[in-house]
């Protein structure tokens, strides 16, 4: 019997609530606004855009002059969204007072009480096209070469391979010039010596095996040796 009485009281309550809902003559309010058409939008933009209030319970459609109205909105606080399949718009919160006064503010779900006013009539400006798709990665040779790890590997290699070739010319004039340059460098005592550092790296503490390996390394050391002799 307790169960049934509970049931009845609940039913009565809901009936009361429903009755209370009906009693006041509620008037609908109208939310107005305008939507900015993106530059690259196609001809169907206006027909494909719709304004939803309170997650679609009240709807607005865009007229040819880009304005819209949403009618029959009761008083309360609602989220107003502009929805288009290809463009994104920032939703807003609109507070409708029972007197019919309407204000718009920034939608903030984390701090619902925070008021940051926006202009009313509403103005929707597109945030841009919705990026639904991922960019497909393409294998480009330039990308591959510009990769930092590749650069780290390749540049010293180039230095090692190419520099000695350039310097190891048999032309006496060039050799002379080079020696002059070396003398010039050796005059500056505090300049770090590239060749020496390199020889330290590769030959200094290295085993005999590394010294024997590859003619390129030997070539690399040669200028250094000459310089010391000079």
């Amino acid at each position: 019997s307790e169960m049934t009485s509970k049931c009845i009281s609940l039913k009565a309550l809901t009936a009361l609530a429903a009755f209370a809902c009906l009693l006041p003559v509620s008037r609908g309010h109208t939310i107005e606004g305008v939507i900015e058409q993106p530059m690259d939008a196609d001809a169907d933009f206006l027909a494909k855009t719709r304004i939803t209030v309170d997650s679609g319970n009240y709807l607005g459609f865009i007229r040819a002059n880009r304005t819209f109205i949403v009618q029959h909105v009761p008083s309360g606080s609602f989220v107003v969204e502009a929805i288009h399949p290809n463009y994104l718009f920032e939703p807003m919160r609109v507070d409708v007072a029972s007197s019919g006064k309407i204000r718009a503010r920034k939608l903030n779900f984390l701090q619902p009480a925070l008021v940051k006013k926006l202009t009313y009539p509403l103005r929707f400006v597109s945030l841009g096209r919705a990026a639904y798709f991922q960019q497909r990665e393409q294998l480009r040779t330039l990308d591959l070469l510009m990769n930092p790890s590749v650069l780290i590997m390749v540049v010293p290699m180039l230095i090692l391979l190419v520099m000695p070739k350039l310097m190891n010319t048999q032309d006496p004039e060039v050799r002379k010039e080079m020696q002059q340059q070396m003398n010039f460098f050796s005059n500056k005592q505090n300049m770090p010596d590239v060749a020496e550092t390199l020889s330290n790296w590769f030959g200094g503490g290295g085993s005999s095996g590394s010294r024997r390996s590859g003619s390129a390394l030997k070539d690399a050391k040669r200028p250094g040796v000459k310089k010391r002799a000079a």
């Binding site: 509970k6 459609f61 798709f133 497909r136």
Partner: protein
């Protein structure tokens, strides 16, 4: 040190977030339509208007549609509250608007613009692009449910048109072009305002509006002129016998209504003050005496069509009864429409698929009478609506088009030679249940069914292979023969210019024709989606293309109808198949395609609308051929459940369907099926939404006198006392791969994996939170987790100041649901995860799980939730959210984890947890249907495929959409953009290079030795 640690954790966080973001797999732009398809629909047509050239007046209207109909459109308003323009030639949707969640009261073309009336709002649309011209609120006062009517008055003399739109309280007259309000009038509809109905009809002087208050049984007539809102005549008419204005038809000067006994009462709109019955003598003149089932207005001039079970009558019903009805008797199922001077009469025999003929005749000599016969496949049922339109051809001769709606909601267009122009499968907008069926495999391993002797297996194998060989041959021949047709299919882009591409069910009886190309692919990604619609139609959709493979109307059980008397027989015409209470129409796959020589078998459970008795119908889900006849059950059902395993004993491999009647009788379907070996008992439960009650039963197999008998006992009862909103249970076939979760400290949390859990959401008034100053009182949502074997509540929680819509999904050991937070005015998504407890037992000696809960803010409203399903359950789960904005968002379950910590520690990092963030991350890249917005989603179905990484997602509602979902990316197959050429080139290059260098090295060594 602390700073370093913080820095480290921050870096880690960024890395994890990056990882997670990256795991949101988006489509590539070139993959559009590769693995997915969309079929947009409008729904069952309720109002239809043909586009007319702008600026025509009524006089010219009989000569409408000047020239070709290439750019012509038809406008429809449907039961999905959709307003759309459809190409009269192409059948494509030109534009489409989803209106408010309220029925569309009417659409009218007036002065070249389209008008729609719904939810108390009059809207004017440009016909070509569907852009809103203007929108007028007919009445300021809000109502829970607006009644409405729409009429267009066009004066042939002065070209002054008016659009009349009215709710039950107010009438407005609007200039169609400008939208300027000419005048308005208040209609006092009576006391029960919220339920008042309204209808109107234009007359030569203006408009007649009739409002009806069903609670008081009072009708009010208003006659308005075009000049002002002062009524020329008002009258109050008592009509207590009338239940709704839907049982009335209004014309220029007469209102004809059906009383409960099925006889006609007439009211003169110009002079009458009371309804007058049709005198019996006049009724006899009409040929049929009734009782009438419906009354319809056809083509103005007080012409009504009265329909009874045995036939129909078209009569000029004059309420003054001075002239007497001049009637014409028509056979049952006939439809008559007038368009100007042309009269269209459609005759049909049988329940559909029979001969349908259309006669066009005219009193004018300009129009040649003709009679065409139209062909319909039997699965459409009867023609229920006829919309003809006439036009003048370039040569000056008259032509016409007819658009028809059949009982299954499909829309057909024919030209005046009787040739089908197109068909739109609008029945598919009303899907209520979906089952995915694996296609028959071409793999020989499955040919031999275990359990037989060596010789029988060998014979089976041989016969099976011969069968397959014949199948392959047939398939090849079909491919050879039907190549041009299949190319036409692919071009058709769901427009379906003709019914031909998909084999109709009648043709499907030649077995292989439809199923020829339907062979399982390598990864079982290609399936057949068997669907049942609310109009009692079955169809199978190809999951790869979305094409209908076969369609079939569920037949009425004939034997029982014949057994009942003639009275019942006459009612048979009205009886139809409908979903069970609650809108369900479950499909059961009783035998899969795995038992090759045996045909697969599926069964649908529905009911007969006239008696409410359940009806079972079995069919082959691959070919769409019925197996036996539909069976009407004698008793009401409490529950129907498939036995988990098929029986191997009788060689039939059928999973029997257990039917529990309301007298607790248990029967099997099919009746003589053997139960699987070792079957002892089965637990099931029922959800009684009306009484807010859950009940559990146990079905047991008992042996009495060597006869096996099933008996049912009620095991538990749980009264929830609150309205049940939604329920969700785990899918019985779901695979759980890992039973535990390894924590950062190397401990293991074991999942609470109870396969019998049922999640229920109920709504109640919130007694705790104080009511706000304005607005309605708060409500609360309670979520219950109930063990359906014992009836025990495993866990429950209440969300105060919350309301629906609630969407619930339960999988593995977790539960995710969405609800609306009334106080904070935002949607939230909550997750529960259940872990096995530390051995604590409750009073019923059952282990209690540890429930972890967490909630998140959902920045976008959601209308439906689903979860991805994979074959072995190894792949991470994704929660799929059908957003109100039209997107289907894939959200990794890792974002919804109650263990997401507020403060990160290395242990949590090691576990791979993300720090808690109150908002669910939204990303457009996670929208799996990209810009193919899906509105009014009714359900989402996920199906595991042969690929562990991939799950098939099928979304139904007004639109159909199907795609592949890969929650952990496609880890088991190479990516589509995998660069085979590059890898091959590099490999070959390396090999060649190694050979060459070897030779060179050898040569060099040789030279060195020589030198």
């Amino acid at each position: 040190m602390g700073i370093n640690k913080n820095k480290f954790s921050f870096c880690m966080l960024i890395f994890l977030l990056f990882l997670q973001m990256y795991s949101v797999l988006a489509l590539y732009e070139d993959e559009i339509g590769k693995h997915d398809w969309t079929r947009p629909f409008v729904g069952r047509v309720q109002h239809l208007e043909f586009d007319l050239p702008a600026g025509t007046t009524t006089k010219q209207r009989s000569q409408q549609l000047q020239g070709g109909s290439s750019s012509r459109r038809l406008f429809v308003a449907t039961d999905h509250n959709v307003l759309a323009a459809i190409g009269l030639k192409s059948s494509r949707i030109i534009w489409r608007h989803f209106l408010e969640d309220a029925p569309v009261n009417g659409i009218k073309l007036c002065d070249g613009a389209l008008f729609s009336m719904s939810n108390g709002l009059l809207r004017s649309w440009s016909t070509s692009r569907g852009i809103l011209n203007y929108e007028i609120s007919v009445q300021e006062q809000l109502e829970a449910k607006f009644a409405g009517s729409l009429a267009c008055h066009e004066d042939p003399d002065d070209d002054r048109s008016l659009v009349f739109a009215s709710t039950a309280r107010r009438l407005v007259a609007v200039a169609p072009l400008t939208g300027a309000l000419e005048w308005a009038a208040n209609l006092d509809a009576g006391s029960g305002e919220n339920h008042s109905e309204v209808t109107s009809f234009p007359n030569p002087d203006g408009l007649t509006v009739v409002t009806f208050d069903p609670t008081a049984g009072k009708m009010r007539l208003h006659r308005f002129g075009t000049e002002s809102g002062v009524a020329k005549r008002t009258a109050t008419v008592k009509a207590e016998w009338l239940t709704s204005l839907q049982r009335c038809a209004i014309s220029v000067s007469t209102l004809a209504c059906l009383d409960p006994a099925g006889s006609i009462r007439l009211l003169s709109l110009s002079s009458g003050s009371d309804f007058k019955p049709l005198p019996p003598s006049l009724a006899e003149q009409l040929g049929h005496a009734g009782p009438w089932q419906s009354v319809e207005e056809i083509g103005g001039q007080d012409l009504f069509q009265l329909t009874s079970n045995s036939g129909a009558v078209v009569a000029m019903l004059d309420a003054s009864l001075a002239t007497g009805p001049t009637g014409e008797s028509l056979p049952a199922g006939s439809l008559l429409r007038y368009r100007g001077q042309v009269r269209f009469l459609l005759r049909q025999q049988g329940d559909g698929g029979g001969g349908v003929t259309l006669e066009a005749s005219s009193s004018s000599s300009l129009v040649a009478s003709n009679k065409i016969s139209l062909s319909f496949a039997s699965h459409h049922g009867r023609v229920s609506q006829l919309y003809p339109v006439t036009f003048v051809r370039k040569g000056g001769s008259y032509g016409y088009r007819v658009v028809m709606a059949t009982r299954d909601a499909d829309l057909h267009a024919f030209d005046d030679t009787g040739e089908r122009q197109w068909m739109r499968e609008e029945s598919l907008a009303g899907i209520v249940s979906v089952e995915a069926v694996d296609l028959p495999s071409a793999d020989e391993d499955e040919l031999v069914t275990p359990g037989g002797s060596v010789f029988s297996s060998f014979a089976q194998r041989l016969s099976g292979q011969v069968h397959h060989f014949i199948h392959v041959l047939q398939h090849l021949m079909l491919c050879w023969g039907a190549r041009p047709a299949s190319q036409a299919d692919s071009l058709g882009e769901f427009g379906y210019p003709d019914e031909a591409p998909a084999p109709p069910a009648s043709a499907a009886s030649s077995s292989g024709s439809g199923a020829g190309s339907l062979i399982r692919d390598e990864f079982n990604l290609h399936k057949l989606l068997v669907v049942a619609t609310k109009d009692g139609k079955l169809a199978a959709l190809d999951s790869a293309t979305g094409r209908s493979v076969w369609r079939l109307m569920i037949p009425m059980p004939a034997a029982a109808a014949a057994a009942e008397g003639t009275a019942a027989k006459s009612a048979r015409t009205e009886a139809r198949i409908e979903p069970l209470a609650g809108g369900q129409m479950p499909l059961y796959i009783q035998r899969t395609t795995a038992h090759f020589p045996l045909e697969p078998m599926a069964t649908v459970l529905c009911r007969d609308s006239s008696t409410g008795r359940p009806v079972l119908f079995s069919f082959n889900p691959i070919t769409g051929i019925g197996i036996g006849l539909a069976q009407r059950l004698q008793s009401r059902l409490l529950q129907a459940l498939l036995v988990p395993q098929p029986s191997h004993d009788d060689g039939q491999y059928i999973r029997p369907l257990m039917l529990l009647s309301d007298t607790l009788q248990v029967t099997l379907y099919p009746a003589k099926t053997a139960l699987p070996h070792g079957f002892k008992s089965l637990n099931l439960y029922t959800i009684d939404r009306d009484n807010r009650l859950l009940q559990g039963y146990r079905l047991r197999l008992t042996e009495q006198q060597q006869q096996q008998q099933m008996s049912a006992i009620s095991t538990w009862r749980l009264a929830l006392h609150e309205p049940i909103l939604v329920t969700a249970a785990r899918r019985p076939t779901e695979q759980v791969h890992s039973v535990g979760r390894v924590l950062g400290n190397r401990h293991v949390l074991y999942k609470y994996l109870n396969p019998n859990l049922l999640a229920v959401a109920t709504l109640a008034k919130d007694m705790v939170t104080p009511a706000p100053q304005i607005g309605d009182a708060f409500t609360q949502i309670t979520i219950w987790l109930i063990d359906t074997v014992s009836g025990r509540v495993v866990a429950s929680a209440t969300h105060h100041h919350s309301s629906g819509p609630v969407s619930l999904v339960h999988s593995e050991h977790w539960l995710v649901y969405s609800l609306w937070n009334q106080k904070q005015r935002r949607f939230q998504l909550s997750v529960w995860e259940l872990f096995a407890g530390n051995g604590l037992r409750d009073c019923m000696n059952a282990t209690q799980p540890i429930v972890g809960k967490q909630s998140y803010i959902l920045p976008a409203p959601v209308q439906h939730l689903a979860v991805s399903q994979t074959e072995r359950g190894i792949t991470a789960k994704s929660v799929l959210l059908a957003l109100r904005s039209g997107g289907i968002m894939e959200l990794n379950k890792a974002f919804l984890d109650p263990r997401r910590p507020f403060d990160m520690t290395p242990e949590f990092q090691e576990e791979g947890l993300m720090p808690y963030h109150p908002e669910v991350p939204m990303s457009t890249q996670a929208i799996v249907n990209y810009n193919q917005s899906l509105h009014r989603v009714e359900g989402m179905v996920t199906v595991p495929t042969g690929l562990e990484s991939t799950s098939l997602l099928f979304v139904h509602g007004t639109d159909l959409f199907c795609t592949r979902v890969q929650p952990s990316k496609m880890f088991d197959v190479l990516k589509a953009d995998f660069d085979y050429a590059f890898i091959a080139a590099v490999t070959i290059g390396m090999i060649i290079g190694s050979f060459v260098t070897q030779r060179l090295a050898a040569r060099k060594a040789l030279f060195r030795l020589w030198s």
